[in-house]
Amino acid sequence: MEGTAVLGRLTWRVAEIADVRTETPTVKTLVLDVGGWPGHRAGQHVDVRLTAEDGYQAERSYSIASASDGSVVELTVELVEDGEVSPYLTEVAGRGDQMEIRGPVGGYFVWDPRVGGPVLLVGGGSGIVPLMAMLRQRAAAGDDVPARLLYSARAWDDVIYREELEAMRGGGLDVAYTLTRSQPDGWTGYSRRVDAELLRKVAQPDVARAFVCGPTPFVEAVASALVSLGHDPGRIRTERFGPTGG
């Protein structure tokens, strides 16, 4: 009797690029149309699979950037130098191109409105992406649960979703940036790495949930700092992106 393939039959869907938006010089958002998309929760991600003509395949995970909206799935991709997949997605792929996606996955790192507030969101670099999905979901739902975002980026030009974040302030949402490599003239925001000192100033006492996302070293430093400040480890949710994406 022939063997049966268990994996791969039911879970991959075809996604077609409907639009591409430039977020920063190295970051693009792909607006995908995914037939049969079941909807997703903010914070979830997808696995993307690319197949070359000779059959070579590469897979990467990307956080969904958009709030759930029919068959639309937005992925924000940062170009990683010498990467394998991100150069394709940010420099080659365009409208009409297709890829396969698996998901949505990730029930651990999701915004659950039932948890209440206040909520702390700490993102490093492209770690902002799933946090942005959460804030977009919150806005779409007209939710006013108190939330605070601390976003660490190298410089002002590297801040993804800049205008949208500025427009979102208020209605219970605070946004703070720390620009660690260079700051624009007249900058009055933070410029230190996200450490216990900075979190002591920014993190709300008694958060209901803290979401931390970004490169692995960033996530580990922030999560331990939060614990050292007395935050309940059980309320901290982390998503590590590894050394870089690719």
């Binding site: 991959w12 075809v14 197949t51 070359a52 590469a58 010498d82 394709y88 191109d97 297709q98 396969e100």
Partner: protein, 201 residues
């Protein structure tokens, strides 16, 4: 349904000369770091390499003793089961033949064991006859901890999971005991030229 092709996607690959690159493999210019666990950091003063199991007597070398053994510098191709191959990698270390000199055994198999608990099994005849080394230098430098330093096993004619990082010894055995990955889907032997990646291949 065949997978959807993404127009224009090539991936980061070099052209693969078929006589050098086994089936299903792709050439890489970098040296991917793959690990089953955190990097161990055994101080050299506490490090040793031992040949144990189906042997008489003690066969153990401290770091200094290993360094004093005849060393070889050599160039080989390596092939990882995750599909990358790297050609002309340059290593420095001690041949397993040297380590087995004077070791009496009826064993036909060996299990390499490492700091951190990793194991992998190899037939003894695949570790001898100039086919395997305990290496401590890569590309003219001391072997990086993330690549298995201070020393790793190197068995280039088999898939690279057999080249155990952070190796601390060989247990000589009369039976072929599946190691860390061989117990869970990976091929017991692992010949890249026969594409022996998984059970049943």
């Amino acid at each position: 349904m065949p997978p959807i092709v993404s127009r224009g996607f090539r991936g980061r690959r070099d052209d693969s000369p078929p006589d050098r690159v086994p089936p299903g493999q792709y050439l890489t210019r970098d040296f991917p770091v793959l690990s089953a666990g955190p990097t161990p950091h055994t101080p050299l003063a506490q490090w040793d390499f031992a040949i144990v199991g189906e042997v008489d007597g003690t066969h153990r070398w401290t770091w200094d003793e290993l360094q004093a053994l005849p060393r070889e510098s050599f160039t080989v191709d390596i092939h990882c089961v995750t599909k990358w191959s790297k050609l002309d990698t340059v290593w420095e270390g001690v041949s397993v033949d040297t380590l087995l000199e004077g070791v009496d055994t009826s064993a036909e198999y060996a299990t390499a064991f490492s700091d951190g608990g990793y194991t992998t099994n190899v037939p003894l005849e695949d570790l001898t006859g100039g086919k395997a080394w305990v290496v401590y230098g890569y590309d003219g430098e001391p072997l990086d901890p993330e690549h298995g330093g201070p020393a790793r096993l190197l068995v280039p004619h088999l898939y690279f999971w057999k080249s155990a990082k952070w190796v601390r010894g060989l247990r000589l055995m009369e039976t072929d005991e599946p190691g860390f990955w061989e117990q869970n889907g990976y091929h017991i032997y692992g010949d890249p030229w026969k594409e022996q990646r998984y059970w049943g291949d």
